[in-house]
Structures are given as structure tokens and as C-alpha cells.
Symmetry: C2
Subunit: 124 residues, 2 copies
């Protein structure tokens, strides 16, 4: 198994378990988290653990894909809360010690399909 | 290099080059593309090549990450058109012949950050 894949699988398992000690140990002291959609950035392990631990709601994580390759990994999760779910896409860069140093994540929302491709597309 | 990573790098290079013959050869005859945000699905190589070849605009692709792991891969691209750019996140499953059999992609849009985490977050 890819070490990077195993690391991000443990990351989501710790998150789901609210095991913030294990979660914190997987990320670098100087971890940088970025969310390009909101242009939010969180710096450092302590703030980043709190950012996750304080996230409201009785949410759950189901991992659809976890892909690791050298010092890089990506995950596609389903974020489940209150009967709804949203996909989350997360790209990770690991440091030399195998800790997660950079995280970029994305939370896409539904939208209407553009016109003009109905001849190629079905809806599901 | 991961074969899956190489395959998706060639996929985006062919797309950027409008080399639809090479692009088509990388996907399975029975390829299934799904876009969860619009709930659109495209089935089969011919339709999928047209779906891409007919996409309007003088667009360009810049690959930010390409990650391959066994029969799975993920990419984060910047889709550049008319002075704007949008991130695209794509998850690929390869078949036994190494062709791309399933594609799931996501096009996240900007949104306003939720309140209540200003104590942990900076904006960029």
C-alpha cells in the first residue's frame, strides 16, 4: 500500500472517530490548509485541529476514493450530515517525514447543466 | 512512474492538444463519465470524445496535480478560458487493459465562507 494513501486513510478515520490526537499527529506542525472556493487559509497544527474539531453538526465521513502516489494523495469523500450529503475533494502534499504539510480542499455544489449537450448526455 | 498517473497525464495533454484520436484511445469503448453536480452522464467513447471536442471556447488546461495509484487516479486541473480560471477535480478508474473506464469530475464554484471560524482562518 502507498504510504501516502495509508496516511490519508488514517486521517479520515481519525476525523470520523473525533480522535483529534491521532489526527494532529498526521499533519505537520506547520501544516497549511487552503480552501480555494472561500479563499480561507488555516496555518499550523493547533489551529487546523481546532478548525476540524469545532466543525458543527453530527457529521460523518465516507471515503469514496483514497489515492496515494509518492508524496501526494487525493481523496473523494462523502460528507454526511442531517440526512444530506456533499462530496469533498481533498489534495494532500506530504513532507519528508511523511506528515501532511499542505491540504487543498474543494466542496462542489449542484448546478444546472449548461444547454447544448443534450444530444450526448443523460441525466441521473 | 505510476501507469495510472501517466495515463491521466496523457489524457490531459491530448485534451489540451485537441488530439481527439489519442484522447479516445486512452478511454475504454464503454467509458462512463459522470458529473455529480449536474447529474449528467455520458456513455461510450464516441459520445465522450464529442462531449469534450465540442466544448465551446478557447480553453486551456494546466495540470496542478496528477496522482496515480494502481487502477485509480485523480487530477486537479486549472481550466483557463477568456481570462478566467476554474479548478476541475477528476477521479478516474482504469480497466484491466489500463484504459479509463469511469470518470467522475467536479467543478467547484466560489462561495462565501460560513461565519464562526474567523478566529482560526485568514483570507487570501
Amino acid at each position: 500500500m502507498s504510504d501516502a494513501r495509508e496516511t490519508v486513510q488514517r486521517y479520515w478515520a481519525a476525523c470520523e472517530a473525533r480522535d483529534w490526537k491521532s489526527f494532529g499527529e498526521l499533519v505537520a506542525e506547520e501544516v497549511v490548509y487552503q480552501a480555494p472556493q472561500t479563499r480561507e487559509r488555516v496555518r499550523g497544527r493547533d489551529a487546523y485541529v481546532r478548525f476540524n474539531a469545532e466543525f458543527p453538526g453530527d457529521w460523518h465521513i465516507a471515503v469514496e476514493r483514497a489515492i496515494g502516489d509518492g508524496r501526494h494523495a487525493a481523496t473523494w469523500i462523502r460528507f454526511l450530515v442531517g440526512g444530506t450529503e456533499q462530496p469533498g475533494l481533498c489534495f494532500f502534499d506530504l513532507d519528508e517525514q511523511g506528515r501532511i504539510g499542505h491540504i487543498t480542499d474543494f466542496w462542489p455544489e449542484p448546478y444546472d447543466p449548461p444547454p447544448g449537450r443534450e444530444h450526448l448526455v443523460e441525466r441521473y
